[in-house]
Symmetry: C2
Subunit: 517 residues, 2 copies
């Protein structure tokens, strides 16, 4: 052809346009099948009668299978191949170049996994979750043991599709936290542990803060009303979402304009619903902030478990448990619960919501000991996957590790190895490391935001969050999954993932609260 | 082959077994796609934020398209053809023979409709419904007019796929009420009208009953609690269902073990939530009663709009508005609302819930005038479809017909042609006749049940419904869609569809209430 090399021929443009339109149509259908399955999952976790579980499991499995068939359609592979030349001419940061790059990576990952496996896993996940909702309150590990054994087998089978790999959990970790491995997570956790354990021990050896002001009882209605006030204030748009009750709170997305959160309420613990709402709202604010042009493609959601968790933990802890946040909000909370809080000073409340102590339940754990819970789960799941720990021995191994790491052990499995939904939703492996990566990234991102806008801490004390959320949206949210997690963090903060900001944050906040040297 | 003709060869049996297994697998997938779409629809009508509507419309359309692709797959047709010989050897009433017969009929019906049309209609329905939820309270017909025009065009387009047919609405009516036509519905309605109008006029010329005892206000919580008590008593199994609030009550099914109803509550009208719950529970009891072996196939649901409505209307009216039902339940209702009802005698309450009067709203209309509302809608939709009535002239035509038939006309469209969801959910035509067919069948089925078990009316007065529901389950519910509606009715009652029982029921009940000659 005789046209200039820098301006593609009209027919080439037209051909690429046609291919891109076809690509977007196919990706939207895959995305919509996922969103439809998410609606079925949300309903199952909020309103569905228990009797509906077997059919619901089958229906979700079917939708997963249809999505997987489309995600592995050889025609999709050919379409992506045919677009390589087109996108090589574009800026690597352009939406189109990122779209083709990420779609190709997902296609290559998906084609390794047989459709039959996807169905079996989805159906197992639904049945297992349903059984767990009854087995946990009944402290019934025996019922869950075969589900967990099956989940371990499924995880090993999944890893087999990506063989050879250095460790069984590597494909499972990579799936949640793109770019991380068993070895890199372990190295990160070892480094953090070295700094964290002395801080945790120094605090836990002191008398714990008095948090009796959080014990209530507090009525459900006002708890949910105040939580709604708080999450709308920090930027969760409830016109494009909603909040419902469930067993184990989560955030889910059905489109860019329907991102929902769930919560649970304890009448004897004011912090449970409030901070779980702020946590899930952090996830939701991230998803609501993804550029609408990306939604319905593989770029249209948060990029990894760790980066996602950085947002839930930042809004829950770095904002929601900060002194500044409560300087603004505490009077409103006192007006909501005058009988319980009118006589409680702000400082007492602030110390109560930041109480550090050895405890049994991960989701209730304070910022300091939380990561010890996560590291324990990470190690136990690696041990189960690599055959060093039999599922039947999990309750005992859990108790032993709790005793060693946190100095206390649960009296039953309800508060032990049955407490988290993750292993009972179908996956063993890759499910927990993101929580601690998220804590680390939250501090790193927050520091970078404050470096760019030193007024942020003052603004939080005034109930204004736009500067922080604007910076996060610009640097993180709107990009969706365009960039890999490590690249996104380096672009946003100017540095690779590092534990120093998080350790400094913990030392600063808890050093002041507990007069550490 | 040398085998006996009466015992199929082992290889033939095995081949038929394989084909039946494959058939059931395919039909289950089609069914599950429908159930998944139903979950998305339920969520849209109950909890979804309004902003989610565009994506939800697209997602429902996608699921409809996938179901339609599978329902029209030529391989399905070949599979059904291959099973003809097998089922000819079976008893025509056997599940398998009925399955192949009905599946073939549905295949032949589905293959007439292009996939693209199914998508367009589903998406139109979702957008139109969403607009209607705002337009009705705003009395905004202008906004709905283009949706209604599009709905009319879509209905005509649908009819075109079944050309030639005697009337445009015939395929639409046949789709809801298998075996009925525009002409047969009109003949039925003309006959009923001749008996009904004199009864309605004789009552409406009298002073209306005093129903001030229903005006409350009644708090929402106790209203829903009492309605739940009533619907569980008549046989709705809430362990396999649930009740939520919506704009326009409906019943929906996600599996044999998850059949849900929705309701709305008016604080100033005790009868609204209560009787709409009993109505929808009637639909749900029918669906919960379908034999579980049929669910997940084209036999696994109620057979037609008319037969379905016979159950909602029987439980709502013939049971729920009967003197016997309230002889048992009225003391409990008085205890629920002592301030409002303690001083109101049962007879006053009974007359209030059976008040007959000229009124504007179909769903609020009494048993006597209700059918005049239905007949009017039937005539108007036929006129729109056949081009005698332009959509823009609908509000005026509605008012004129209301004035002529019921002696009063709505002041606005909110209480006029915007009141029903049906035309605004995507279909014009075939949506209303089932209500009156249902009333007629309810009386015919109830009479047959009482003829078989004369104790039924006494039992209802004692709060016992098992004999009635047992007979209905045996004669109607468990068969699902195995038999065509006319065949089912003849099997159940020993006679074809007839208006005499219904006219006798109205004359008996309302003759006593209003001292008619």
């Amino acid at each position: 052809m005789s046209q200039s090399r820098t301006i593609p021929a009209a027919s080439t443009v037209s051909c690429a346009e046609t291919r891109l339109t076809e690509l977007r149509k196919r990706l939207l259908e895959i995305s919509d099948l996922g969103y439809a399955a998410a609606v079925l999952g949300w309903d199952q976790a909020t309103y569905m009668p228990a009797a509906g579980a077997p059919a619901r499991g089958r229906q979700k499995a079917m939708l997963s299978r249809l999505a997987h068939e489309r995600a592995t359609d050889p025609d999709l592979g050919r379409l992506l191949d045919g677009l390589q030349t087109h996108v090589e001419a574009l800026h690597t940061d352009s939406d189109e170049a990122c779209l083709v790059r990420v779609a190709l990576r997902e296609f290559e990952r998906a084609t390794r996994v047989p459709a039959d496996f996807v169905s079996r896993r989805a159906e197992h996940g639904a049945r297992s979750y349903d059984a767990w909702t009854r087995a946990r309150p009944a402290d019934d590990f025996a019922t869950m043991r075969p589900y967990l054994e099956k989940g371990t087998e499924l995880a090993r089978e999944y890893a087999g599709f990506f063989a050879p790999c250095a460790a069984i959990a590597d494909p499972l970790i990579d799936r949640s936290d793109d770019g991380m491995t068993t070895a890199s997570v372990r190295a990160l956790f070892d480094a953090l542990r070295a700094d964290l354990v002395p801080i945790a021990n120094a605090i836990c050896d002191q008398a714990p803060a008095d948090d009796s002001c959080l014990r209530g009882p507090f009525d459900e209605g006002p708890q949910l009303a105040f939580a709604t006030l708080a999450i709308e204030a920090i930027g969760y748009d409830m016109r494009r979402g909603r909040m419902d009750k469930t067993h184990h709170p989560f955030c889910t997305k059905f489109s860019g304009d329907d991102v929902r959160i769930t919560t649970r309420v304890r009448l004897d613990d004011l912090s449970d619903a409030l901070f779980s709402c702020m946590h899930e709202a952090g996830h939701a604010i991230y998803e609501q902030g993804v550029a609408s042009a990306l939604v319905g493609t593989p770029l249209g959601h948060g990029v990894s478990a760790g980066v996602h968790e950085s947002q839930s933990r930042m809004w829950e802890n770095m904002v929601g448990r900060s002194r500044g946040f409560w300087e603004h909000f505490y009077p409103a909370l006192q007006r909501t619960f005058p009988a319980q809080l009118q006589a409680v000073p702000l400082e007492t409340f602030y110390r109560a919501i930041n109480k550090v102590q050895r405890s049994l339940i991960r989701t209730d754990a304070d910022e300091v000991t939380y990561n010890l819970h996560v590291m324990m789960r990470f190690d136990l799941e690696i041990d189960m996957l690599e055959g060093r720990l039999a599922v039947k021995d999990l309750p005992e191994a859990w108790r032993a590790r709790m005793q060693a790491d946190l100095g206390l052990a649960p009296a039953d499995d309800r508060d032990g190895c049955l407490q988290d939904v993750h292993w009972y939703s179908g996956w063993i492996g890759g499910a927990f490391q993101g929580y601690t990566i998220g804590n680390i990234l939250a501090a790193q991102l927050y520091d970078a935001a404050v470096a760019a806008h030193p007024s942020i801490p003052t603004e939080i004390g005034e109930g204004a969050y736009d500067t922080l959320s604007g910076w996060l949206c610009d640097r993180v949210y709107r990009h969706g999954a365009k960039f890999r997690p490590d690249e996104l963090i380096e672009r946003a903060t100017g540095a690779p993932l590092a534990i120093a900001p998080y350790v400094a944050y913990l030392r600063g906040k808890y050093g002041a609260l507990y007069q550490l040297s």
